[in-house]
């Protein structure tokens, strides 16, 4: 524990002012389920904390459409997961939240904070006893040659193969969500595809937001592939576990019954939410069958670079993609 200042602004405008006035050690606090955790592990050590958890302005959930759904950054995971319209029209999004963490955590945690959670890599979280380029740039990476069963097979670099652990961002990635942010330099919109970055030579840098930028809301275009969607999560136990492999899948069919729109994004296997355009192409214009779904799965996992203990994620992943597409297809309006 280290001393830090704490402010709870009453409005978003006030929050922006506070952020503008505070220094580089400032952290936004929402549910705290990631931030406090990392502070206790001495990985995050903010000098100032700006609490936006109770800003009702940031907590709105709008699933009236018709063009897009929007979720305030401070909306609780549990509330979004339980939204009846979302569950009907966008099951992948609702399921990605419902299958994350535990009910207690979902009651606290927000959909904005969720996007910026950090890797669960044991060497990152384990503290100074282990080299970790993400925690201590230049110190090395213990995952190479170590326990890498949970690590990424896509998007890694020579410095880091830590998995991006979140589920929600994977589902958002499949459906081209955007994130509205506000900061001292004004407002801007970031595509979810541009929010997270691969580790490259700077694994400590995980996303493209500035420290003084506040996520206001997340917007998702409504699409018929949303209705025919699922978030299929395979893990070591049926609940309260991060994904070994997860797949956000969505399909929509044309009049002929061929796939018109296909969305596939992967979780648990990459250093960031991982969209699979090549796999989507495999199915587009084709009939969705067990065989074509498996081909899409194979395309999704082509080019994977496994380590010592996570080779199985390729085979498992291919099948998870196929299963997800089947579930999505069953839900799609024909």
């Amino acid at each position: 524990m280290r001393p830090f200042s704490y402010t709870a602004p009453a409005t978003v405008a006030e929050a922006v002012d506070v952020l503008a006035a505070s220094g580089p050690g400032t952290k936004i606090l929402a549910g705290g389920t990631t931030l406090y955790d990392l502070m206790k592990l001495d990985i995050e050590a903010p000098t100032a904390v700006v609490d936006v958890h109770r800003l009702t302005e940031l907590a709105a959930i709008d699933t009236t459409g018709p063009g897009e759904f929007s979720f305030g950054a401070a909306a609780r995971m549990a509330d979004v997961a339980d939204d009846p319209v979302l569950r009907r029209d966008f099951p992948a999004l609702a399921e990605s939240l419902a299958k994350a963490a535990s009910q207690q955590l979902r009651n606290m945690a927000t959909v904005g904070g969720n996007l910026l959670q950090r890797t669960r890599c044991g060497y990152f979280r384990g503290g100074p006893a282990f080299p970790c380029n993400k925690r201590e740039p230049g110190s090395g990476c213990a995952a190479f040659g170590g326990l890498d069963r949970g690590h990424a097979i896509f998007g890694g670099s020579d410095t880091c193969v830590a998995t991006y652990p979140g589920d929600w961002a994977v589902a958002l990635r499949a459906f081209d969500a955007v994130v509205d942010v506000i900061g001292p330099r004004g407002e801007r919109t970031v595509a979810i595809a541009d929010l997270h970055v691969e580790p490259g030579d700077t694994p400590q840098r995980e996303h493209t937001l500035a420290g003084d930028e506040l996520i206001v809301r997340i917007r998702v275009p409504v699409t018929s592939a949303g209705r025919g969607s699922t978030y299929h999560k395979i893990r070591d136990r049926e609940s309260y576990a991060f994904a070994l492999v997860s797949v956000a899948a969505g399909v929509a069919f044309d009049d002929q019954g061929a796939v018109e729109d296909c969305r596939i994004a992967l979780g648990g296997v990459a250093t960031l939410p991982w969209r699979c355009p090549a796999a989507e192409m495999v199915l587009t214009g084709e009939r969705l069958t067990e065989e074509s779904a498996l081909r899409a799965g194979e395309a999704a996992f082509a080019g994977a670079r496994p380590g010592a203990h996570n080779v199985f994620k390729i085979e498992l992943g291919v099948r998870t993609v196929a299963d997800a597409l089947r579930i999505a297809g069953e839900r799609a309006v024909r």
């Binding site: 044991g122 170590g146 070591d236």
Partner: protein
């Protein structure tokens, strides 16, 4: 009947009235945190506490204590009291990652935590060996390393020759990983002094060892030590002895003149307390063409620490599960750089039964025989090791009843032959288990008061298994008084020695002593030996305010003096071999697994378990004991493994979210049956142990079911998704 049908403390627990060790508070409480070693082995060459001491509120940073102030507690399995003999802070040696290097005490937990993080140490690092296969691990033959009769190899006949001549031979190696107990209640409590008396509030299964061990460590008169542990929030073997934090806390509390609260962080409980060691089992089974088992060889390598020899007692049950004439056991200990491993629910029996009962299944398939029929045909009628009768043995009944309840007759024998409509592979598996019925010496005090209430103080610890409920049931049934009129004290050295409660002897041991005390009480109250008693009237008739009795009981064949060993806090149990008979509890498990055709998730929709534990002392808590054990078995078969990076040592998944104990969603139906036949020889109440036997064989039943589903034999636990893809 007045006997309670539910847990007597259920309401108090659910409403939070129950006080666990660390729930206590007082105005001048100080808080402690340990700084721990960040290397796997070596020497502390320099330790810098300046920054830690500068944290506001820090009262003390203790990096070294003198051996004259604090000795080793000795190892609980070596005539001592500690989970290990190594007492941190006595010298500069680091034996394992996570070993405490400094104790920080502060006004607040926050200050103590912060200061502990600021303790900096320089180490001289040495190479480590943490796995069974590590080059620098040292292998010892147990019977040579620890020449004690009960640890010698069990040998009957000439198993190697009989195996070589057997027409059907199975030979296979089975591997089980390290696991941790992960009880909900963290280790810790409150340690303080009342004048010259040391008072420790801590959840434990062995208040006696805390007292005896602290007396030895601190050079105190045991009469000046009180251990108060009315409730333990789960122990499962991890809290069965003195933990090394208590001694330093006692010293610090004396120096500061303040009581100290300590709650070990979850990750530290993986490194500062015992765990289930890794073990490897080479099993050879020989049979004739009819399925008669002729010979068995069971060789075990088990991990231990460098500083203690945690004994391996795996063949005790495998030599007795069947009537096999030729048996040879061999147990070796592999010294590695870890804290000393220890007992975790069914410590030897769960791994042993996984290996042996998998091998028996392999024999059944090799012969094309039904696995239940093969087991029934090989049942033992006497203890094959001693030739003595069993005090009671209803394993065959467990198998028959279980097969019935499960619907075993509907199984098609061919592996892979049972499938769901979607291609899901269905497998049914069976396995047997056994667990030694041990008994410990115990003291019970009863006080019948003029208001009609009976107070019981007895050896035993309530760790959620329901010992209090079983005692209340016995007393209220015996005297025909209301459950509310029975008040029970356990886990308290002020009322009884508080010998270790473990090995499933707790209930039988406590009930036997209470039963004896009830006989005395009836005499003193001058009432008949069995009729209902009007306690109020009977006490009034004596003209006294209360009638007090004390009874001491021992295991069959134990000399009465054994109670002195228990009073000293030392392990004093006996069994399973007694003069004239051998006593075990038995169980049969039937499991169904379903394996998805595509992503291959293994589900266990149902388990049926039928137990022979003698008389069922408390049906509600007994069923829940078995259910809990089956959950552990499912975890052990499919999930739990403490991950070790051989480069670093320690345990990598040392948190609740990373260590994959099953969640509710992983558990299907668990149906429990009891033979409920009182054991006629072991004790007058007819009770054998239940808590541990319940887990024995679950993992084998599941692995056998996976084989039946897929035709693939898994000899390494846990069986995870990547193993069945």
């Amino acid at each position: 009947m007045n006997a309670p049908t539910r847990r007597v403390d259920a309401h108090d627990k659910v409403t939070g009235t129950v006080r666990y060790g660390a729930d206590l508070t007082s105005p001048n409480l100080a808080h402690a945190v340990f700084a721990v070693s960040t290397v796997g082995k070596g020497r502390v060459v320099n330790i810098d506490t300046a920054a830690a001491e500068a944290v506001p509120g820090v009262l003390m940073v203790l990096t070294r204590v003198d051996a004259s102030e604090l000795g080793s507690p000795g190892f609980v399995m070596g005539g001592g009291y500690g989970f290990q003999s190594l007492q941190p802070l006595l010298d500069d040696r680091i034996a394992y990652r996570g070993q405490p290097i400094a104790l920080v005490v502060a006004d607040t937990l926050i200050a103590a935590t912060e200061a502990a993080n600021l303790v900096r140490a320089d180490y001289e690092v040495e190479p480590i060996a943490v796995g069974l296969d590590a080059e620098a691990a040292e292998t010892l033959v147990q019977q040579e390393a620890i020449p004690l009769p009960f640890l010698a190899d069990i040998v009957m006949g000439d198993a190697d020759a009989a195996f070589a001549e057997s027409p059907v031979r199975i030979e296979a190696t089975y591997d089980l990983p390290q696991q941790h107990q992960v009880p909900m209640e963290l280790i810790g409590g409150v340690v303080g002094w009342r004048g010259e008396t040391l008072v420790v509030h801590e959840g434990t299964q062995n208040a006696g060892a805390l007292r005896g061990g602290l007396a030895r460590q601190l050079g105190l008169d045991p009469a000046r030590i009180e251990i108060i542990s009315p409730y333990t929030g789960g122990g499962f073997g991890q809290k069965n002895s003195l933990q090394p934090h208590v001694g330093p806390l006692a010293l610090a509390a004396r120096r500061l003149g303040r009581p100290i609260k300590f709650v070990m962080p979850r990750t530290q409980t993986f490194h500062q307390a015992s765990f289930r060691p890794a073990s490897r089992h080479r099993v050879r089974l020989g049979a004739d063409e009819t399925g008669r088992l002729l010979a068995a060889v069971h060789e075990v390598d088990q991990q231990t620490s460098r500083h203690d020899l945690f004994p391996a007692i795996y063949t005790e049950i495998t030599s007795r599960l069947y009537g096999i004439e030729h048996f040879r056991g061999r147990q070796r200990l592999i010294r590695t750089d870890v804290q000393t491993p220890g007992f975790m629910r069914a410590p030897f029996e769960h791994p042993a039964a996984f290996a042996f009962e998998s091998a028996v299944d392999e024999v059944a398939y090799a012969l094309g025989q039904d696995p239940v029929a093969l087991r029934l045909a090989n049942d033992a009628d006497v203890d094959p090791v001693t030739g003595q009768p069993f005090s009671s043995r209803h394993l065959a009944e467990c198998l028959r009843r279980g097969a019935d309840m499960f619907g075993w007759a509907g199984r098609t024998p061919e592996p892979g032959s049972m499938r769901g409509a979607d291609g899901t592979q269905v497998g049914w598996g069976v396995a047997s288990g056994a667990y030694p019925a041990s008994v410990a010496p115990a003291v019970a005090r009863l006080s019948a008061a003029a208001d009609g209430k009976v107070t019981v103080g007895v050896d035993g610890h309530e760790m959620g298994q329901g010992i209090r409920t079983a005692i209340v049931r016995l007393v209220s049934e015996d005297l025909s008084i209301a459950a509310e009129d029975v008040i029970v004290y356990v886990g308290d050295t002020r009322v009884a020695p508080q010998h270790l409660t473990a090995g499933s002897w707790g209930t039988a041991t406590a009930l036997q002593a209470v039963h004896a005390a009830l006989r005395d009480l009836r005499k003193r109250l001058d009432v008949a030996d069995s009729d209902p008693v009007d306690v109020e009237a009977a006490v009034a008739a004596t003209g006294q305010a209360a009638v007090d009795v004390e009874a001491t009981t021992v295991a069959p064949g134990q000399p009465p003096e054994i109670i002195e060993q228990s009073r000293a806090g030392l392990v004093a149990f006996a069994g399973p071999v007694y003069p004239g008979f051998t006593a075990f509890s038995f169980i049969a498990h039937f499991a169904e697994v379903r394996i998805e055709p595509t992503t291959r998730r293994i589900r266990v929709p149902r388990v049926v378990s039928v137990v022979d534990c003698g008389r069922v002392a408390s049906p509600v808590t007994a069923v829940s004991q078995v259910r809990g054990a089956v959950v552990w078995g499912i975890g052990g078969a499919l999930r739990e493994r403490s991950e070790v990076d051989p480069r670093y040592g320690g345990f990598a998944n040392a948190t609740m979210e990373e260590y994959p104990i099953p969640v509710n969603a992983d558990i299907g139906e668990v149906e429990v049956g009891f033979v409920d036949e009182p054991d006629p020889l072991l004790n007058p109440v007819g009770v054998k142990g239940l808590g541990e036997v319940s887990m024995v064989g679950v993992a084998a039943a599941i692995a056998n079911a996976v084989f039946h589903a897929t035709g693939r034999r898994h000899r390494r636990l846990p069986i995870r998704i990547e193993d069945v893809l």
